[in-house]
Symmetry: C2
C-alpha cells in the first residue's frame, strides 16, 4: 500500500512536472500569432524627398535625418491612388501593409492636430489630404490588414537626432518636453483615428521613457491592445531579423532572452542573436525579414527615386528571399515605393504579380499533406512522385516545441534521411535534392514538449 502510494505520488509529480514544463513554454499573444500567420506584408515608404527629383548617393538617405527638405510644398502627388498600391500587393499574396505615417523628415502624412508639419500645411488638396486615411480605407477595401510606421527617432525639421532634441540648456529641455508630448500625441492620433491596426512599427525602435524618449508603449496598449508593438526598449513583440536582405539564416527561433530586442546588457553577438533568436529564450519575439523591392544590383532604396527601375529584384531572387524568410519561420516585409505621381510604378506592380503567381505555383498545391502530434508523423503519397520542397509547420499557438528533426523517405523498405533541421516554428520550407518519394516520415529527435505538427507537406516546386 505504501509502495503503491509512493508510485502514485511519483507518477502524479511527473505528470505535473511535464504539465508545468509545457505551461512554461513561451507562446505568442494573439497579435503575434496573427502577425506570423500573415507571413508576407508590405511597407510603403512615402515622404517629402520622393518629390525632389534627385537621386540619393548610396546610403545617402540618412541625410534626411539632418537635412530638412527645403520646400515641403513639393509634396504634390497628383494621381494618388492608394487602391492601386493595395491591389498590387493583394495580387502578390501579401496579407498586410504598413505606411510610413512619419519618417525621418518628421513630416506627417495625415491631418495631425499636434504636429503642424503635416498634410495640413500643404497646398496639395488644399491642405485636406490624409494619406493615412486613404491607405487604411484601401486596405479595408481589399481585405489587407493595415499597419502604421511612425518615425519619432529622427526629425530633421524639428531638430531631433536619435530621440534627442538638438541643442543645450533650458531651451533644449523645454523643446524636448514639447517634442515628446507631440510624438505621444501623434501616436495617440494614429491609434485612435483609423480603426484597428495590425502592426505599429516605430522606426529604429522607440527607445525608452527612462532615457528621455516619448512614452509610447502605454498609448499603444491602451488604444490598440490587439496590435503588434514593434518596438522600444521596454517591449518588442517582434524583432528585426538582423539584416535588410529580406532573409534570416537558419535556424531561426521565435524566442528571445529579453522582452526587448535592443542590445545593451550582456549579449556578446547581438546581431547573431537577432538573426537566430534563442531556443531557450523566455520571451516570444518572432523575427522580421525586411528588404526593399528595389534592392538589387548595387542599390537598396526604401523610397522612390528616379531611375531605380533596374534595381527591382528579379523573380528568382524574390523566391529565394521568400524561402529564406517565410520559410525560415520569419515574417517578410517588403518595401514598396510609391512615386511622385502617387502610384506604385508599373514595373514594381508587374514584378509583385509575377512573384505572387510563382509562390502560388510552387507552394499552392501540395502533392500530399498531413498533420499530427507526437515524435513521429508519417506521410503517404498516392503514387511515387518527384518532389523538391517540404513544408513543416508547428502549431505555434502552443509554442515552438521542436528542437531537432529528421525527414526520411522509405526506399526499398528502409528509411533513408532526405533532410534534417532544427527550428520549425510557424513555417519551415525545406528545399531537398529532387527525389521520387512515396512514403515519408518526420522524426522529432528532440523536443521540449509533445510536438504539434500542423502541417507536413511536400511540393514539386522549382
Amino acid at each position: 500500500m505504501r509502495n503503491l502510494l509512493t508510485a502514485y505520488i511519483y507518477l502524479l509529480s511527473t505528470v505535473l512536472i511535464a504539465q508545468d514544463h509545457a505551461a512554461e513554454i513561451p507562446i505568442p499573444n494573439p497579435a503575434q500569432l496573427a502577425w506570423q500567420q500573415a507571413e508576407l506584408g508590405a511597407v510603403f515608404h512615402y515622404d517629402l524627398h520622393v518629390f525632389d527629383g534627385e537621386k540619393y548617393q548610396q546610403n545617402g538617405n540618412s541625410g534626411n535625418r539632418t537635412n530638412p527638405v527645403m520646400d515641403y510644398q513639393q509634396f504634390y502627388p497628383e494621381n494618388l491612388d492608394t487602391d492601386q498600391w493595395i491591389k498590387a500587393i493583394k495580387d502578390a499574396g501579401f496579407t498586410f501593409a504598413i505606411l510610413t505615417a512619419t519618417h525621418e523628415t518628421g513630416f506627417a502624412l495625415y491631418q495631425s492636430d499636434v504636429n503642424p508639419y503635416c498634410m495640413k500645411a500643404l497646398k496639395w488638396k488644399d491642405g485636406k489630404g490624409d494619406i493615412v486615411r486613404d491607405f487604411v480605407n484601401s486596405c479595408r477595401k481589399y481585405g489587407i490588414k493595415p499597419g502604421i510606421y511612425i518615425g519619432i527617432r529622427w526629425n530633421s525639421f524639428f531638430g531631433v537626432y536619435d530621440f534627442k532634441v538638438n541643442g543645450s540648456g533650458e531651451f533644449q529641455k523645454n523643446r524636448q518636453a514639447y517634442y515628446n508630448q507631440m510624438a505621444e500625441g501623434m501616436v495617440t492620433e494614429l491609434c485612435t483615428r483609423y480603426g484597428e491596426l495590425f502592426e505599429i512599427w516605430f522606426d529604429g525602435g522607440a527607445s525608452h521613457p527612462d532615457l528621455g524618449a516619448p512614452d509610447v508603449l502605454p498609448i499603444v496598449k491602451k488604444y490598440q491592445p490587439n496590435c503588434l508593438f514593434y518596438h522600444n526598449n521596454q517591449l518588442a513583440e517582434a524583432r528585426w531579423g538582423g539584416s535588410e536582405s529580406g532573409t534570416v539564416p537558419y535556424p531561426c527561433w521565435a524566442t528571445f532572452p529579453n522582452p526587448y530586442s535592443h542590445s545593451g546588457d550582456t549579449q556578446k553577438d547581438h546581431l547573431q542573436l537577432l538573426k537566430h533568436g534563442d531556443p531557450n529564450g523566455k520571451y516570444w519575439m518572432p523575427a522580421m525579414s525586411d528588404a526593399p523591392l528595389r534592392g538589387y544590383n548595387g542599390r537598396h532604396e526604401w523610397f522612390w527615386e528616379p531611375g531605380d527601375e533596374d534595381h527591382i529584384f528579379p523573380l528568382d531572387h524574390l523566391m529565394e528571399m521568400y524561402r529564406k524568410s517565410v520559410g525560415h519561420n520569419s515574417t517578410l516585409i517588403v518595401g514598396l515605393t510609391p512615386d511622385p505621381r502617387g502610384l506604385l510604378p508599373e514595373p514594381d506592380v508587374q514584378r509583385l504579380k509575377e512573384w505572387g503567381q510563382e509562390i502560388k505555383k510552387q507552394f499552392g498545391n501540395p502533392v500530399s499533406e498531413v498533420s499530427g502530434t507526437g515524435k513521429e508523423i508519417k506521410l503517404k503519397l498516392d503514387k511515387p512522385t518527384l518532389i523538391n520542397h517540404i513544408i513543416l509547420q508547428e502549431d505555434i499557438a502552443r509554442g515552438e516545441r521542436v528542437r531537432e528533426y529528421i525527414i526520411e523517405s522509405q526506399v526499398d523498405g528502409k528509411w533513408k534521411e532526405i533532410g534534417r533541421g532544427e527550428s520549425i516554428g510557424h513555417k519551415r520550407i525545406q528545399k531537398i535534392e529532387p527525389s521520387t518519394v512515396s512514403r515519408l516520415r518526420l522524426r522529432i529527435t528532440e523536443a521540449i514538449a509533445e510536438p504539434i505538427i500542423k502541417d507536413f507537406s511536400v511540393y514539386q516546386g522549382l
Copy 2:
C-alpha cells in the same frame, strides 16, 4: 567792373555754397515722411499664449522665447472681430496699425506656405483662418494704414534663440539654412499677399545676413518699396526711442550717425543716442515711442492676460505720453491686446475713445496759426487770449533745419520770451505757463538752412 565781377562771383559762390549745404541736409524718404505724419499708431499683439489662461510673472513673457506653448489648438478666438479692433483705434485718432504676424512663439497668424506652424494647423475655422488678412481688410475698411510685425529673432517652436538655431554641428547648420529660408519666405508672403504695407517691424531688429540671419532687406525693398523698414543691422528707417514708456526726451532729432540704429561700433552711450538722435547725423531715422496701453501701476504687458484691466493707463498719463512722443517729434505706437474671445476688451476701447476725444479737444482747434519761412515768423491773434500750448512744425520734407528757437510774446510793445527749445522736426508741442497773448513771434536763433515752418499755432489745451 572787376570789383563788380568779383562781388558777383562772391555772391554766386555764397548762394551755391548755401544751396550745396541745403542739398546735404538729410531728408526723409516718402515712407518716413508718411510715417512721421501718421503720428499715432497701434501695434496689436496676439499669439498662442493669450489663450493659456495664465498670467505672466512680471517680465515673464520672455519665457515664450524658450518655452513652446504645449497645445497650439488652444488658439480659438470664437468671436474674432478685427473690425472692432480697428474701429476702436479709428475713434482714438490713430492712423495706422500693426499686427504681430509672428511673435516669439514662431506661430504665424496667417496661411503660410513656408511655415507649417501657422493658422493652417488649427482646428479653429477648420484651419482656414487668416487673421493677417482679416486685419488688413479691416484697416482698409476704416482708412487705417496696415503694417506687419514679424518676429524672426525668436522661435521657441523651431528652436531659434536670438536668430541662431539652437544646437551644434552639421545638423544645426542645415536647420539654420532651412530656418533662414523659411523666415525669408514668410517675409515674402507677407510682403506680397496683403497689398501695400505702411510699416514692417522686425521684432528686435532682423540682425544682418553677414551674421547668419535671414536676408530680409532686399525682399522688403523689392516688394514693398513704399513701406517703412524697421529694422535690421543694415538699415533702420526709424529707430526705437530708447524706452517702452511711450515717450522720448527733449530734444529729439530725426537724424542719426549711422544707417542702422543698433549699437556696435564707437557709440558710448547708445541709449541716449537712440533717445535724442544726433542733429549732425547724416541719416534720416525718426524716433518711435512705444508703450503698451496696459502699462500702468506695476505692469507692462503687450499681450492680453487675465486681470490686467486695472493697468490701463489713465487718461492724463496718456495725454502726457502724447505730448512727450508726438509732441517731441516722435511717432507713438501703442500696444493693444485682443483677448481670447478675439475682441479688444471694452475698458481699452473706452479709454482709447476718451483719449482720442481729449487730443481733439486740446489740439483740434488752434486759437490761431500761421506758416512761413525765414528766421522770424509772427502770429497775430484776433484778441488777447489765454493759451497754454504752442505747436511748431517744420516742413520735414526739406529736413530738420532749426537748431534753436525762442518764442516771444509782445507785452506792452516789448517782446518777452515765453518758451524756447532746440528740435522741432515734424512736431513740437510745447507746454507753456498759461499766458494771455495777442501777438507772438518765433525767432529761429540757430539753423543750418533757411527754416521752413509749416505750422506755428497756439492752443487753449489743459
